[in-house]
């Protein structure tokens, strides 16, 4: 068995495979199908201060090698999360990453403060990249100055590792990444979904009730690998890479390109066993190549 453990800004993971926010509910939805304790960490669905109803259906559209979604950060608010979801998560033997989003800088810092006070939460992921929420969300993530402002103020509100989730829907993701690092992010996770759209040619209407949505799945993987590589060359903080990871080979691409850990999202819908298969596959690869630890592979990309 190779050493799969990784360290993300002091957060120790037994392996580098995390379930991506928004695809894993609050964990218990998958609890009957897999042993969640085997995961490196669980990143739960984004919570906001007040309940969010979410976008008008239809919210899903399948596309070649991927899917569009326009959920719109539907959640029951942070109080309901703490009351209803946290007890299940607290009983798990794997780190819990809480994902937060707000419509204002003040929302984000208040959420970070509330959740940081809870011993069950091991890290905070600040989602400044949801393409489906009208206010906040991606507005912060697509601009260096706004990103730096919200990250800086959220930084002051928490002593836990602060991960900032970045959007690919911006001109220069490396510049936003650098701004977040300077403002105090302990780690970066990328990519959120790629803004997309589909049209029903018979009804002349958009396939999604929200008109546009976020593309995920294997279709976005090459974009995501490129962005992880680009960000990794420009920042010193650890990166959680994600975007279309279905197999161990996909995950290894991200790690070699510079990610310390990876997150599995859409693949959970296809096969709930995917994260476990990916952990096992990474181990097999390392053993076969006689690489003692997964961290040796991080950023090991060779360019001739």
């Amino acid at each position: 068995m190779a050493d799969l453990s990784v360290d993300i800004a002091g957060l120790k993971l037994k392996n580098p495979v995390i379930t991506a926010s928004g695809t894993y509910g609050s964990g218990k939805e998958y609890g009957q199908l897999i042993d969640i304790n085997r995961l490196g960490a669980v990143c739960v669905k984004t919570v906001t201060l007040k309940p969010v109803a979410g976008n008008r259906p239809p919210r899903l559209w399948e596309t070649p090698s991927g899917m569009l979604n326009s959920i719109g950060l539907q959640n029951d608010g942070v109080d309901a999360f703490i009351a209803n979801d946290l007890p299940y998560l607290a009983a798990l033997d794997t780190p819990i990453i809480a994902s937060i989003a707000g419509t204002s800088v003040d929302d984000c810092s208040r959420l970070a403060k509330m959740l940081s006070a809870l011993p069950e939460i091991d890290a905070i992921e600040l989602n400044i990249s949801c393409p489906n929420a009208k206010a906040g969300g991606v507005i912060f993530g697509s601009d260096e100055k706004l990103a730096a402002d919200v990250v800086g103020k959220t930084r002051l509100a928490t002593t836990k590792p602060l991960i900032v989730k970045l959007t690919p829907n911006t001109g220069d993701i490396a510049a936003v990444a650098v701004a977040c690092e300077r403002a105090g992010a302990d780690a970066l996770s990328l990519i959120n979904t790629v803004l997309g759209m589909a049209v029903d040619i018979h009804t002349l209407r958009p396939q999604l009730g929200n008109v546009v949505g976020g593309l995920s799945g294997p279709a976005v993987k090459p974009i995501a690998v490129r962005m992880v590589w680009e960000v990794a060359r420009n920042v010193g903080v650890p990166i959680i890479g994600m975007g279309g990871i279905m197999t161990a080979a996909d995950a290894l691409e991200f790690i070699i390109a510079g990610a310390t850990a990876v997150a599995v999202g859409t693949a959970n819908f296809v096969d709930p066993q995917a994260p476990i298969k990916i952990i096992e596959g990474i181990n097999q690869y390392l053993e076969k190549k006689s690489i003692a630890t997964v961290s040796e592979l991080m950023g090991a990309l060779k360019i001739d």
Partner: protein, 255 residues
């Protein structure tokens, strides 16, 4: 809820592009309730990756069950192309089915098109509780009128509507529903079919003061309540078709 590899033990084309596929999965067959569904991985291909949901159509012995598959795209074409002894990856049984334990002695089943899928299972289950079962079913034509003989056997009265008039009334099931409600005096109505039909059934049921449950369809990703992709607008919030449903009372939906 289980994830397992189910072996296909039989497949039959019951109408053009509609297949009945028998899956051997004892754990699922033992737990399934009428109106629940299974989420099938439809392919070893790279291009379409999401699972497809299918109602548990009927139990076959104690260890297997049927699904009804209409070929509408890549996933269902792949599934319809499987043969006995092939396997499919399955998650199920999923969702909340029809409330068969309610206190009622007369029930009317309303099925439109592929909405017939859960009805034989449902009719059999409630008939066990000595409930008098009646059926109204509709389809494009006689050839698409699936399970007619089985439902005829399980129910005391069966009314048929076809779009082309090739069997029964020429028109929609909802055209003849009021009359059937008056004739059969049901205490519950259970409906499955296209969304527009279900809306109409809900309205007619309400006018007759009969509690109604409808089984909805939606595009799904996870199938287990995690992704919130299959939301349906209910009375005062979005509900999840996959795990709050797929069967809802029309009161819950505010219909």
């Amino acid at each position: 809820m289980h994830q397992l590899t189910a072996r296909i033990v039989a497949k039959e084309e019951v109408s053009q592009d509609i297949f009945r596929i028998t899956l051997f999965a004892p754990a699922v067959a033992r737990e399934a309730q009428p109106g629940q569904f299974v989420h099938l991985y439809c392919g070893d291909h790279q291009s379409y990756i999401l699972r497809r949901p299918f109602s548990v159509h009927r139990l076959v012995g104690g260890d297997a069950f049927d699904v009804l598959v209409r070929v509408v795209g890549e996933g269902t074409r792949w599934l319809a192309g499987r043969r006995p002894k092939d396997s499919v990856d399955l998650i199920g049984p999923l969702g909340r089915g029809f409330n068969v334990d309610g206190q009622f002695s007369r029930a009317l089943l309303v099925a439109g098109g592929m909405g017939i899928a859960p009805m034989v299972f449902l009719a059999g289950k409630i008939a066990e509780n000595k409930v008098k079962v009646y059926t109204v079913m509709g389809a494009a034509g006689r050839a698409q009128l699936l399970d007619f003989m089985d439902l005829k056997r399980l129910t005391r009265r069966i009314a048929v509507a076809t779009d082309d008039g090739s069997q029964g009334y020429k028109g929609l099931v909802t055209d003849i529903l009021s009359k059937e409600i008056e004739e059969t005096q049901p205490e519950r109505i259970f409906a499955c079919g296209p969304a527009a039909m279900l809306r109409s059934v809900a309205g007619i049921s309400r006018r007759h003061g009969v509690p109604c449950e409808v089984s909805l369809e939606a595009r799904m990703a996870c199938g287990v309540g995690a992704c919130l992709g299959c939301a349906v607008q209910a009375r005062d919030a979005y509900l999840k078709v996959c795990s709050d449903g797929p069967v809802f009372t029309t009161d819950e939906l505010g219909w």
